[in-house]
Symmetry: C2
Subunit: 393 residues, 2 copies
């Protein structure tokens, strides 16, 4: 019998994925999946775009494209990122097959088996299989409502052996923690990194989904300029559609150069067809109006869920109050286990994702993630009530 | 300064990619790129498909999808593969981001740094960066017009240390060699593999592009049934469009299971939007008519190029006579170097890809690849004449 490679043992099925089978049962109220509601996709805009595409653009969409991305999209995306004060002129930009591939490429070019990657705890569950792919050791750092705890981060970066290669943060409308980093906390993180050569991988998948203008984040990549090696990733998944599989990496040129070489051996180029569509979406100025609709819809959904939590939850249960994104993070009383609660909730017809799925060590489980982005809006209250009932009985 | 991972040194820029910059000069006649001519894409069919898509399908196209692929597409693709006698019921099928990702996943789950992969020489140039990605050692086996030489293959598989993990073959309308394996040669390869646990990675990107029905290949995966661990990869790139970035892997279940886990850490899923389009293309029965058009167009282009070679080339230059696919492989007199010839040809306004780009060791260079798929049809003769002139002076 054939033998698999050594890295195969490290890859494991994500708990979230197993749960999605339960969540897809039509009778179930699901707060599990971190995906947009189908009714929120810009289908009308896409119909307009398709109708407006000249033959030559469709032919470009059918063809192979350059590994770093469709030049027209790189141009329109650069304009968009420039408007967020990101240093597009002193860095290189490349298009990736979702921002997950951008994360993958950065990990590929920096991490050897056994190298340490420092993450937040809780951590974006989709990034954990990427780190495992390269047999990285994960070191999670706890957070409060302003971001990662600086004393703990200092310990994880500089006072624990072996020293890490990479720091991975998702500071804006954190998945799953639901928080946004405060400006002071961002500065403290940047200051801490000045001491070292650790690369910061800054994942900004949700930054546009602030509910109010005053909470619009300024990325650390924009704050730091060129003083630090920051690999900034973003995504069309939350601002156009995940099915397009388009993300990007903005990073120092020599890093992007290596990521391009790696991408040549992964999928050669991202879909030109969806790149042509995304370029038209930006160029025809459709993003701003769409974002307005999205922000209103998600703010309304978040509010509904927060009200339901207030109404139904017992004392001793705490949760974050999101100012953007898709998620609320719920902290149970210390004695309570989220997996047991999930079993009871499923019997009542509601699902969510348990805390340990987001713990790099897979342990901490007195907490869980609620997603307000995808469930039918008029069933949010019923779902929260069922979880509260499951808690009590 | 930060340090890159150990594997970064092994990745190198492909010579082909550098050449594409020269080839994209509008004055240049390019026989370099292995891509379809833009006029041959099924744009009319796509317009019909888009017009016929219900809202729900568009919403599915915008959304995340399952890692192994859009269930509807897996179903229609299974039907299509069943019609080619492939063992779809006893194996698992998954959708990948181009067949390059299918190759990547198989290499990921079998190859550790330093492991040997046996390939043909010449070898598909796009696969070489995948093998380098995992620091594989490559061992190339020469071919004749019926496929890989069996005595040499036997040597490479069983009489050279260390033993290989994987055998990678592209038997049907080989890129770059332009040949198709004979049935007897296929049986000899399969017999040779019976002795061992070496996994065969069978790349069938061009199989549908036979010029005549009698040359329609029967894949080794179909011949061998379940007697051997064969990972069979295919692609929508040549039968729909490369820009869709869709391919597939048909392989034993435990192998596909591991590939799915690996894909979770790469891009989570392939574009649902292009999967919805590809599914409609198959389901609406548009493939057969489109293939008929393609086969006629490529046969006509091949014939034109062969006639020009007969007319312009001097004695001592030899070439393969393709019965399908995109390529003609040209063998120069032993003293002649393809890189020197390329330089002169570029000055005259014609480009091709030199032989050493396809040699796993990057050496053998008394040969080059001509692609007849992409150049303007009415300039094929002029391009070949220019190369012949460059050869003479």
């Amino acid at each position: 019998m054939y033998r698999f490679s050594q890295s195969v043992g490290a890859m494991q099925s994500s708990a979230v994925r197993e749960l999605m089978k339960v969540a897809s049962d039509p009778g179930m109220i699901s707060f599990a999946g971190g995906m947009p509601h189908p009714d929120l996709f810009p289908v009308r805009e896409l119909d307009e775009i398709y109708a407006s595409l000249p033959l030559a653009s469709k032919q470009i969409g059918f063809q192979y494209g350059p590994t770093p991305g469709y030049p027209q999209l790189l141009e329109s995306l650069r304009e968009y990122l420039r408007s967020k004060n990101l240093p597009v002129d002193d860095n290189d930009l490349m298009i990736t097959t979702g921002s997950l591939q951008a994360i993958h490429l950065v990990v590929k070019v920096f991490v050897d088996a056994g190298d340490v990657v420092v993450t937040e705890n809780p951590c974006f569950v989709g990034a954990i299989p990427v780190f495992k792919f390269y047999q990285a050791e994960l070191r999670g750092v706890p957070m409060d409502e302003d971001g990662v705890l600086i004393t703990e981060l200092d310990k994880a970066l500089y006072r624990t052996n072996p020293f890490p290669k990479l720091l991975y943060l998702t500071p804006y409308f954190h998945n799953p923690a639901g928080i946004v980093y405060g400006a002071e906390r961002q500065r403290q993180v940047l200051n801490l990194l000045q001491k070292s050569e650790i690369v910061l991988l800054e994942d900004d998948a949700y930054g546009e989904l602030h509910f109010e203008g005053k909470d619009k984040p300024v990325p650390m990549k924009a704050m730091a300029g060129d003083s630090l090696p920051i690999c900034y990733t973003g995504s069309f998944s939350k601002i156009f559609g995940p099915g397009m599989r388009l993300g990007w990496l903005l990073a120092p040129r020599d890093i992007v150069r290596q990521c391009e070489l790696a991408k040549q051996g992964m999928d050669a180029c991202s879909s030109m067809f969806t790149q042509v569509l995304a370029d038209a979406f930006l160029r025809q100025g459709l993003l701003e109006g769409y974002l307005k609709r999205l922000r209103e819809a998600y703010a309304r959904r978040a509010k509904k869920m927060l009200q339901s939590l207030e109404t139904h939850m017992s004392d001793g249960v705490h949760w974050t109050v999101p100012r953007g994104g898709f998620y609320i993070w719920v902290q149970l009383p210390p004695s309570m286990d989220a997996s047991k609660l999930l079993k009871k909730s499923i019997r009542k017809g509601t699902v969510f994702v348990v805390g340990k799925a987001f713990d790099p060590q897979g342990r901490k489980n007195d907490c869980f993630r609620l997603s307000f982005s995808h469930a039918p809006e008029d069933r949010i209250d019923e779902g929260i009530r069922k979880i509260a009932e499951a808690m009590r009985g």
